[in-house]
């Protein structure tokens, strides 16, 4: 397994896609910083560090996360089709399940790097903006929010893997991500927010449930459980698909 993960990481060498995703992950803290600085200038309210960090994480969880992480997830599986590599990989004595798991591990590593990048740039921009209450407690609290969102994003990426394997190419998984995103926008403004799995990073990674005391059916554990269940079911479907379907 370690060898497989190592080879998967080697495949990312000189990859523009990962670089693009890193740039994308810097966008969220930068855009939010810009908004907060603008508000400070226009309304004269000093920005709290934790507010800025949570708002940035909300921005990631709601807007860029699914698209950016989904794009990277698609890339990891789709490039094997583009580079005509599956038929070579499947003639090497490795199991398809191990190949799938190693790719998911690489996605987990990459998503963690992207999350940490957003987080670190959030701190850097906060320091540049002179935001209030940048202390160890708030730094740690915001890290926990980011990590919670990151962890729940992982099972949510697995349906995108399934779509990529079945439809081959970027179009279907991107269309899928956009549909997921549109539904998320609609659901977020309704009482059904806790019933939609893709809103789990928002509920877990921000404090909107407490702060805004929003009316909703169920609570954050509902969509956390549904996200994990969706992830597990998609993983099983991927395994069955890889083992039963001739994908070369």
């Amino acid at each position: 397994m370690i060898v497989l993960i190592k080879t998967e990481l080697l495949k990312l060498k000189r990859s523009y896609m990962f670089l693009m995703c890193i740039i994308g992950s810097i966008c969220a803290p930068f855009l939010n910083w810009f908004v907060f600085i603008n508000n400070e200038n226009s309304e004269g309210i000093k920005t709290q560090f934790l507010d800025y960090m949570i708002q940035t994480n909300l921005f990631i969880s709601m807007i860029i996360g699914i698209l950016l992480y989904g794009l990277f997830t698609t890339y990891i599986f789709e490039r094997e089709f583009t580079d005509n590599m599956y038929k070579h990989l499947f003639t090497v004595p490795i199991s398809k399940s191990n190949l799938l798991i190693s790719k998911i591990v690489v996605i987990m590593i990459a998503l963690l790097i992207l999350t940490i990048t957003s987080y670190c740039f959030g701190i850097i921009f906060s320091l540049l903006g002179g935001f209030l209450n940048i202390n160890m407690v708030n730094i740690m609290n915001s890290l926990i929010f980011y990590l919670k969102s990151y962890l729940i994003f992982i099972p949510l990426m697995i349906p995108i893997i399934l779509v990529t394997l079945i439809f081959r190419g970027f179009v279907a998984p991107i269309a899928f991500s956009i549909i997921v995103e549109i539904i998320l926008f609609i659901v977020c403004q309704s009482k059904y927010i806790a019933l939609y799995p893709y809103s789990a990073p928002i509920l877990l990674g921000t404090n909107i449930e407490k702060d805004f005391n929003i009316l909703m059916i169920g609570n954050s554990s509902y969509n956390m459980i549904s996200a994990v269940v969706i992830g597990i079911l998609s993983f099983i479907a991927c395994l069955i698909y890889l083992n039963k379907k001739e994908i070369v």
Partner: protein, 302 residues
Amino acid sequence: MDIISTNGLTKKYKNQVVVDNLNLTVKKGEIYGFLGNNGAGKTTTMKMLLGLTKPTSGSINLFGEEIKRKNKLLKRIGSLIEYPGFYGNLTAYENLKIFTDLYGVSKPKKIDELLEIGGLSQYRNKLVRKFSMGMKQRLGIIRTLINDPELLILDEPINGLDPNGIKEIREFLVSLSTEKKLTIMISSHILSEIEQMADKIGILHKGALCDEINVKEFKNNVNKFIEIKVNNVFEAVRILEEKLNIYSYEVRKDEIIIFERINDSHIINKTLIEKGLKVTKLYVNTLCLESYFTDITKGRVC
């Protein structure tokens, strides 16, 4: 020992039969040439041998074992199916490194040795996306040798190579077969190349194995025939059958093509003349593999 043997191997996609009841055997150290038009079922057969495609029916034995524990057998096989794929953002060395790692090859100089064999040492650190088609093909061929295989399955490996490259690869494959006793199954459209390197040739047409030719025998006997032109074809045919017991012949316009008793051309000539026929042409001709292949695929023989 049979390295490959298939029994009634069949592959159907919906109602279309792609490979039809294929029974073939490839012996150890043999170079088996697989010939067939596009869509004849060569690639599908090779994919089934490698476990990439599941047969609809029939069985496959590799190294005397049925392919149930596929991974164990794959360790002993090197393969190149259709166009060789590579990671364009990686160098030749890095692309091979991925596969040495996956096969668990620990020999540190293995990759450099292979690059040397493929004549690609100078391009070791060049990105594969900058490689020409021929260079990729060479890299694909040397990648099949990473695990020191006992069996090579190569699907049109000389596509895209220049004449010198084709010659080098041919000589290289022949040397692998003779020196290392490597068994090679190779498909190609370039019939003359297959003829030059293969020990046995299987001709696949519409999924069925039409003929298996032992190249040495083909060159010595099978591919020869006698062409005769006489003033009275009907009388000549009667004499051939009644006096000489020749029945394997074909009448084409005013000529008779005889496929048997090739060494008795002088007797045929003498008999026809003695019976008062005027023989204007009689010679032993050679059927090249290409004509033979064309005859088979156009349904003249198969």
